[in-house]
Amino acid sequence: MKTPFAITLDVGSSLLNKTGSWRNERPVYLDRLPPCNHACPAGENIQQWLYYAEEGDYNRAWQEIMRNNPLPAIMGRACYHPCESSCNRAQLDSAINIHAVERFLGDQAIREGWRIEITQAATGKKALVVGAGPSGLAAAYHLALAGHQVTIHEAGPLAGGMMRFGIPKYRLPRDIVEAEIQRILDLGVDMQLNTRVNDIPAVMNEGGYDACFVAIGAHLAKRVNIPTPDAGRILDAVSVLRGMETDAEPPRLGRRVVVYGGGNTAVDVARTAKRLGADEAVIVYRRTREQMPAHDFEIDEALEEGVVVNWLRTITAADEESFTIEKMELDDDGWPQPTGEFETIKADTLVLALGQNVDTSILENLPGVTIDRSGVVEVGPDMMTGYRGVFAGGDMVPAERTITVAVGHGKKAARHIDAYLRGKTYTAPPKHELAGFDLLNSWYYSDAEQTVQPMLDEIRRQTTFEEVLGGLDETNALFEARRCLSCGNCFECDNCYGVCPDNAITKLGPGKRFEFKYDYCKGCGLCVAECPCGAIKMIAEEI
C-alpha cells in the first residue's frame, strides 16, 4: 500500500459517510392547500395567481384565474371574498386585499385585450345553457374551452343575470360586465336573448343538443301580507333594481323610501333610492345589526351615504301616507318577538327585499326532477338533476346565493357535462391538507399593512351611480400581491437549502424547487422549522 508519509489509510472525503442512516424521520416537500383557495367558491388557485403577480407577470396571473373563473374584473368587484376572511395574514397584520388584485388583473386584461384560446379539438357535441347569469356564462365558457358547441338561451333582453339586474352600477359598472361577457361570446358561444325556454326536452330535441345546463336564478320576490289601501306604494326589490336597467325612466320611489329586509339586496335598494334623490332612505329589519345577512362593509357604506337603519322592527300595516311599525325584542334564543309597542313612519314607497324564490315551472314537468320544500331544485354531486342530461346550478339549487358560488357551479357542472358528453365520469382530484397559520414561520415575512383602495367622495356617492370603490394601480397591486405568505406552497426563498447543517438539499434552479439528498439528511427538521410557508413536513421512516 503506497500512502503518504505517516499515513496508514487512504485519504478520503466525508461523502463516503452516508449519515442518512442516522435518521428516523425524513423531511418531504409538499403542497398544502392555502386557506384562500380552500374558501373560494369558484375554486380559484389564488395563491398561484398571486405568485405570478408577485413576479409582475400579470398576464400569466390572469390566465391562471381564467382556468377557474372567466369573470375576474366582475368578481374583483362583486365577490364577497371569503378568501380574505380566511387569509392567514390576518393573524399577522391584515388580510391580503385579494379582490383588489383580482380586479386589477381583470381590468388589465380588458385594457390590454387579453384573450383565452381554445386548445381542445372540437367534439361536435352541442350544449344548451338556459340563463345568461354568472352560472350559465361560466358553464358556457368552460364547455366552449372543452371543445363543445354552446348556445345560451336567455329570457331577458340583456345578458348578465343578477350581475346586471341585482348588483347596482355603483358597485359593478356595466362596461365591465359587457366586456367580460363579450370575451366569452368571442369563444364562439351563441347567445339568444329574449328567448324563454318552457319545454327543455323539446328545445334540446329541436336544436340537437346533447346536454343542457339550467341556471335561471331566483328572481321571484317573496311577499308578506301588509294590509294597505294603496298596493301601488308597495314594490319589490327585484323589480326596482331590474327597472333601473331595462326601463327608460328610473322607478319613481318618491322622497321618503322604506326598504323592508336585511340582506344585501335591501341595502342595494336603499342606496339606489338615495342616488335617485330620496331625502330619506330607511331600512327596516326585524333583527339586530349583528344578525343582518348583508355584509358589514355594505352596511357601513350605506350608513356613510345617509341611509338610516331601524333594527328590531317589523312593518304591520300601511295607510295613506305612513306605515305602522312594531318594535321587536330578541328572546333567549335570539329570535325576534313582538312587543306590542307601535310607531309610525311616513313614507311614499315601501320596497320589499325579503328574498327571492325560484321560478321552477321550467323543470316541473320533467320526469325525475325533484323540487325540495324550500322551492329549489335538487341536483346530485355532479350537478345533474333527476332528468338525465339536464344539469342545474346557481341560485336555483341549494347553496349560498352569491355570484361566486354561481360561477363555481358553472365550472363544476361544465366538468361533469364534458365528461357526460364524452361518455366518462369526472372525478375531482383529491384536496391537499390545509395550510393553517400554525404551520408557517411568520418571522421571515416583512411587515406590510394592507393597501387601501380609494373611495369615491360621499357627495358623489349620494347623487351619482359612479363606482364607489376605486382600483389599485400597478405599483400598489404588485405590493399587495407580494404581501401573500404563499401558505403551504414553496416560493423558493432558499431557506431549506441554506439552513441545512448537512448540505443535504439540492437547489434545482428557478421554478424547479429543491430536492433532498437522503443519503446525508440526518432528519434534524431544521428545514421544516425554518420554512416560512409550511411546504415541508417530517414523516416517520420505516425502520
Partner: protein
C-alpha cells in the same frame, strides 16, 4: 447596517434567498454554486449550529477571496466531526495542530504565504469557544498584538461540547453543564465570571471585530465579507446553538439563535479599531424567557426568580449599552 436591508419583497432580506431580489442581494448560501466548504457526511449531531455557522462563514470567505483560502483549526467539535483522519468534510486547504495554537499556526501560514509572494492567499483560524477564550487565548492575544493578517472566527456554543459539555469561560450564568450542575442555592454556572472576547479583542485595537448569529445569515455573511476585505488581525464570533449540550430540539437551533439576539442576550455589533461602529437592531423584542424556555440547560431557572431576573437584567443592560433598539418604534 452591515448590509442593505430590503424593506419589502414579500420576505425582504430575512430569508436565505428571495426570488424577487436581484442575485447580488441574495446570500452566498442561496446560490446553487456555493462552495460547500464543509460538505455532507460530517459527523456533527442533528441540527448542529456549529456545522451550519462554519459553512456559512467559510463559504462567504471563499466567495470574498475567490477561493484563495487556507484555514487552521483548533481542537474541538469542529475538528473532530469534520476530520476523523484520513477522511475530511473540508473542501479547502485545512490544517489542525493543537487545541491551543490555531492562531499561531495561522500566523505561520500567513507568514509563509507572504514569503512565497502569494499575497492573494488569505488565512482564517477557527475554533470553538473553549479553544478560543480559554486554551488558545494566549496565542490569540499574541496574534492580535502583532496584528497578523488573519481572520480568527470563534464558533461560540458556550461550553466544551466535544469532551462532554464542560463549562468554558464563555458559558453564561445559570447554565447547566457537566461541571456546573443545577444544585444548591445558585444552580448552574456562576454569574459575573467568564470573558467577553469580542470586547477584549477590541481592547487590542485591531482593525475589525464583529459578532454574528446563525439566524441572521445576511448579517453574518456581510460581516465575513467585510472582514476579508480588510488586512491585519480580525475577529468574528458567531453564536452557534448546540442542541446536545443545551438540551434543545435539533429543529430549534435557528430559533434559539434568533431568540438570543431578539431578547438582547447576544448583541450583534461591529467595531473598527476599538470603536463600535454598528449594532444590528432588534426586530421584535422578546423576554429572555422565550430564549431560555426552549433549552433544558436553563430549566432550573424557572424555579429561581432571582436568576431569571439577573438574566433579564443582563439582556436589558446589553440593549442599553449596544443601543439595540431602533429609535423609531420597536420594529425594524
Amino acid at each position: 447596517m452591515a448590509h442593505q436591508q430590503i424593506k419589502f419583497y414579500q420576505t425582504g432580506t430575512f430569508t436565505v434567498g428571495n426570488r424577487l431580489l436581484d442575485q447580488q442581494l441574495r446570500t452566498v448560501q442561496a446560490t446553487a454554486d456555493r462552495s460547500n466548504s464543509l460538505d455532507s457526511g460530517h459527523r456533527a449531531c442533528q441540527g448542529c449550529g456549529e456545522a451550519l455557522g462554519a459553512r456559512f462563514a467559510i463559504d462567504a470567505a471563499m466567495r470574498a477571496t475567490d477561493n484563495q483560502l487556507i484555514a487552521t483549526n483548533a481542537t474541538g467539535c469542529l475538528e473532530v466531526f469534520t476530520t476523523p483522519s484520513p477522511e475530511s468534510a473540508w473542501r479547502i486547504p485545512w490544517i489542525h495542530s493543537l487545541f491551543g495554537n490555531a492562531a499561531s499556526v495561522a500566523t505561520g501560514v500567513a507568514a509563509a504565504m507572504r514569503v512565497k509572494g502569494r499575497s492573494e492567499v488569505r488565512v482564517i483560524a477557527q475554533g470553538g469557544d473553549g479553544g478560543t477564550t480559554d486554551i488558545g487565548f494566549g496565542c490569540l492575544s499574541g496574534m492580535f498584538e502583532r496584528n497578523d493578517d488573519v481572520l480568527y472566527i470563534c464558533y461560540d456554543n458556550q461550553a466544551y461540547m466535544n469532551t462532554g459539555v464542560q463549562r468554558s469561560s464563555a458559558t453564561p450564568g445559570a447554565a447547566r453543564t457537566a461541571t456546573t450542575q443545577p444544585i444548591g442555592d445558585q444552580p448552574g454556572a456562576d454569574f459575573g465570571q467568564g470573558k467577553n472576547v469580542p470586547l477584549i479583542a477590541m481592547a487590542h485595537d485591531i482593525p475589525y471585530v464583529a459578532t454574528a448569529s446563525v439566524h441572521d445569515l445576511h448579517d453574518l455573511e456581510a460581516k465575513i465579507i467585510k472582514a476579508m476585505a480588510l488586512h491585519g488581525s480580525r475577529y468574528v464570533q458567531i453564536f452557534v446553538p448546540c442542541p446536545l449540550g443545551w438540551g434543545a430540539h435539533p429543529q430549534d437551533t435557528i430559533k434559539i439563535a434568533r431568540m438570543a439576539v431578539e431578547c438582547g442576550l447576544y448583541p450583534l455589533f461591529e467595531a473598527e479599531h476599538g470603536e463600535i461602529t454598528n449594532a444590528t437592531k432588534i426586530r421584535s423584542r422578546v423576554d429572555v424567557t422565550e430564549y431560555l424556555k426552549i433549552q433544558r440547560r436553563f430549566a432550573h431557572v424557572f424555579k429561581n426568580p432571582d436568576q431569571l431576573a439577573k438574566i433579564q437584567a443582563i439582556a436589558d443592560a446589553n440593549i442599553q449599552r449596544f443601543e439595540l433598539l431602533s429609535t423609531v418604534g420597536n420594529g425594524q
